[in-house]
Amino acid sequence: MSDTAQLAAKLNEIWRASRPIILERMAVLHATQAALAADLHNHDARREGREAAHKLAGVLGTFGLPRGSELASALEEILQADTPLTADDLTTLATHIAELESVIASKP
């Protein structure tokens, strides 16, 4: 087996081991979405969601999911802005979270 193939095989092992924590971060994003839908000024939910998005942005591309990192970065951006969230932001948040879930599910 070549070095590249060995690396890919080991990366897949790490991916499978990391999957539970990645799904936990997705659960945080879903909770953030629900909390912000109830109260756009829920700063704690916004911060927790931002942190989860930041971590996903940093790791997904490393596992060969660059679209996942892009979506997570976009989520981080929305949640990081100092300005109050709008209904449009919530719609974008929901769309990105749904797509991010699909991207993660696409990698067994």
């Binding site: 070095d3 690396l7 942005a57 660059p66 970065s73 981080e76």
Partner: protein, 126 residues
């Protein structure tokens, strides 16, 4: 002699992938720490050739850890590369003012991480 790298990052998966990459692709020796405090102790003990340091960590973040490393005689000359998922313009200025060797971005490519580190540190890489 293989290069020795210390990775300081609170995220298990990032540490694992970076270590795997540097060991498998470049044959370097990797040591890991899950926090700034542990990283500083390891850096003092092990004297790595370079440190890959995450920016956003709980308790002691990357910039704080870097300043502590710079204040200690045993670690003040070890090159440090900050690793971050996001750099805004204000952060870029803050990081360059700190005096780190470089800033690298997550997500990184496991196939090229070692080459990228070697390039920013001026190390020969084959």
């Amino acid at each position: 002699m293989p290069r020795r790298i210390l990775i300081i990052d609170d995220e298990d998966d990032i540490r694992a992938v970076a270590a795997l990459s540097l060991e498998t692709v470049a044959g370097w020796e990797v040591s890991m720490a899950p926090s700034g405090a542990v990283g500083i102790m390891k850096a003092q003990e092990e004297q790595p050739d370079a440190i890959l340091l995450d920016v956003m960590m709980p308790v002691m973040d990357g910039p704080t850890t870097f300043r502590e490393l710079r204040s200690l005689p045993e670690t003040c000359n070890i090159p440090v590369i900050l690793l971050t998922a996001k750099v805004q313009s204000a952060d870029q200025k803050r990081f360059s003012d700190l005096g780190v060797a470089s800033v690298m971005f997550k997500p990184f490519d496991p196939l090229t991480l070692a080459k990228d580190i070697a390039a920013v540190l001026g190390w020969k890489y084959e």
